[in-house]
Amino acid sequence: MSQSAFAQFGFPSELEDEAIYILRETAAQFERPAILFSGGKDSIVVTHLAVKAFAPSKLPFPLLHIDTGHNFPETLHYRDELVKRLGLDLIVRYVQDSIDQGRAREESGKYASRNVLQTTTLLDAIEELKFDACIGGARRDEEKARAKERLFSVRNEFGQWNAQRQRPELFHMLNGRIATGENVRVFPISNWTELDVWRYIQQENLPLPSIYFSHQRHVFNRDGLVWADSPYINKSPDEQPYAATIRFRTVGDMTCTAAVNSTASTLDHIIAEISAAEVSERGARIDDKRSEAAMEKRKKDGYF
């Protein structure tokens, strides 16, 4: 049974029902929720689900974007269009401001990235805006530390995840009670796989940032991955950019996301490509390659 055969099966509607249930619980149990919006497909799907969950009311909470300053311009363009089209509230906080205020320090060297720095900006934003629930698009199938996450993940005032002290979640009952200063990370699409996300995007006909589809771009090779050329990456002289036909399978900022060679220009092509892929989604995440436990360490520091 090859994976490509799975592509013909539909999206399991139970996943949408569950996500909407979780989003409604979040609105009901918390005073100030926000959707953590990155411009990636998972946060786009969560936003779409939230719009559905409260229809015909307006989305009862804002989107929060932590802008590393190293975004793909296509992602920002998409974000602004989406907010306008759906009449959403958007709040942006900048990693650059955290650096300017001496709250975070720019990394140096070949692998310099702002991926870790954005945790500081996020925690500052949560404190400043008094968010008690931050809704994210993380999925359990992405990564082994994320496989242990709860739907409502309680974080202390430093945003830290304590994997060994998590609340049990029984049946469908969600306990969002927290003490002052604590907050909860909410993961409505925990039980979705990458393929589920794409099937849903197709079923709902959701527009996506253009970088998810095949296009021409200047890239260079490093560590067996295809990196997008950008002014934010410190290249060595032998890393010569060249033009290639690529797309992005997962989108973080320009310093932590690698491209894949691809001619997939439609959702059908993308689904077929992923179904047959031999490399996992986060195989193209430079941020995960730092160590075997890179994600768990970041989560303990307040990352998603």
Partner: protein, 425 residues
């Protein structure tokens, strides 16, 4: 496409992680880069085979100690359906994690090491599967290669297990029990029949999973708890026509716990016992005619009645009774023992109320099925029968009749932790 929820449980070292790793591997759910990472990690640990257990052990402490600490969720597909495994550890806080992981599954897989046969944990696994009324239990007798694939050994474990299941007496459960031989290290009888078990004519593990009932309670009495009231407040300056249209919109958002609701149905709203008729069902902003168990929808009623979060919408002919005194079997989940007389928050679905445990009738010894009637409290991982009083009545069914509307959790007001789970008797 439907989803089958599965729980796996086993004692230390009976090969549970390897079994799951194998299932993923053989259904081609593991990508090359993950396999390569496992290959490297296996070598670092000095094992000379592909240690598929590394697929599920996620936390640093787990990999260091070679054990599983917390419930992990694992996903795979076949051409029949999507599968979600709640993989529960076999030692630390065992009962707590198993009850949690198994609380919404249709199938429980219990692993037995063929060399050791039935051990203490086997009885616990089976008891919890019976307590939770999981419809299908698959007893997977693993590591058959280490007992020369012996049919006699297999049969003797099956006989032992049957005696055990009769001892854990739950005559009213229509539970299917299956026994299969396997060797997860070699992939015998998981997705492919194994020639090594020439004496075994039954299904493989995957065949059992592909044909299991997903158990959505559509046939039960209709139950719908209101999560929130949706009253759009649109600005008239933005879209005057839409604002007028929606001015009187009043919808009750929630997820159908059991049964089916159809436009035109007469309903009763608890706790006030007001009746009305369903005028509309909206699913994600679109009108639909019916909604069944598991679906998230918004109900609209013909009459304007006072409804808020936590109200239960039911069919008048099958409405559950109000209970201020609740008898329940409880499993305690917290390091701090149950304190009789202390106020806990009882959460039944999305409805919460203050509660007190007024009596502990007995604490069950899962292994002997003896009840100790003279214990003052219920400690972590213990199961007992209790009576609770609640501040506002709840409208629960017996867990035996309706699992979705028959369970509740207790929350400690001081720590906010979920400390207990109850099954209404």
């Amino acid at each position: 496409m439907d989803i089958l929820h599965i729980a796996t449980a086993g004692s230390v070292d009976d090969g549970k992680s390897t079994l799951i790793g194998r299932l993923l591997y053989e259904t081609q759910s593991v990508t090359k880069d993950r396999l390569e990472a496992i290959h490297q990690a296996s070598k670092r640990r000095g094992v000379d085979f592909l240690d598929l257990s590394l697929l599920t052990d996620g936390l640093i402490a787990e990999r260091e100690q070679g054990i599983t600490i917390d419930v992990a969720h694992v996903y795979f597909n076949t051409n029949k359906r999507k599968y979600i495994i709640a993989d529960t550890p076999g030692h630390f806080e065992y009962t707590r994690n198993m009850v949690t992981g198994a609380s919404r599954v249709s199938v429980s897989i219990i692993l037995i090491d063929a060399r050791n046969g039935i051990v203490e944990q086997t009885a616990r696994h089976y008891y919890i599967s019976a307590l939770l009324r999981i419809p299908k239990v698959i007893v997977c007798i693993n590591k058959m290669d280490l007992v020369n694939n012996s049919q006699a050994r297999f049969n003797s474990i099956v006989a032992d297990f049957k005696r055990l299941s009769e001892n854990i007496h739950n005559a009213d459960i229509a539970q299917q029990l299956h026994f299969i031989p396997a060797s997860s290290l070699h992939g015998h009888n998981l997705t492919q029949p194994a020639p090594e078990f020439g004496w075994y004519q039954g299904p493989t593990l995957l065949e059992l999973l592909e044909t299991a009932d997903t158990n959505r309670p559509r046939e039960l009495a209709p139950r719908f708890q209101v999560q929130m009231v949706i009253r759009p407040r649109l600005s008239a300056t933005h879209d005057a026509q839409r604002a007028t249209e929606l001015h009187d919109y009043r919808g009750y958002a929630g997820r159908v716990s059991s049964g089916t609701f159809t436009v035109g149905d007469e309903i009763e709203v608890l706790p006030n016992s007001r009746r009305s008729v369903i005028s509309h069902i909206d699913k994600h902003g679109q009108p639909v005619q019916t909604a069944s168990a598991g679906e998230s929808v918004t109900l609209r009623l013909a009459d304007d009645i006072d409804i808020s979060r936590g109200c239960l919408i039911v069919s008048p002919s099958t409405a559950p009774a109000a209970q201020k005194t609740i008898h329940a079997r409880m499993c305690w989940l917290d390091h701090t023992a149950l304190s009789p007389g202390k106020t806990y928050i009882l959460q039944h679905g999305v409805h919460t109320t203050q509660s007190k445990v007024t009596q502990i009738h007995g604490v069950l010894d899962v292994l002997t099925q003896n009840v100790n009637r003279n214990l003052p409290t219920l400690k972590l991982n213990e199961i007992g029968d209790v009576t609770l009083r609640v501040a506002q009545p709840i409208f629960a069914d017996r867990y035996a009749d309706n699992t979705a509307n028959g369970s509740f959790i207790l929350i400690d007001e001081w720590t906010n932790n979920t400390v207990g789970v109850g099954f209404v008797a």
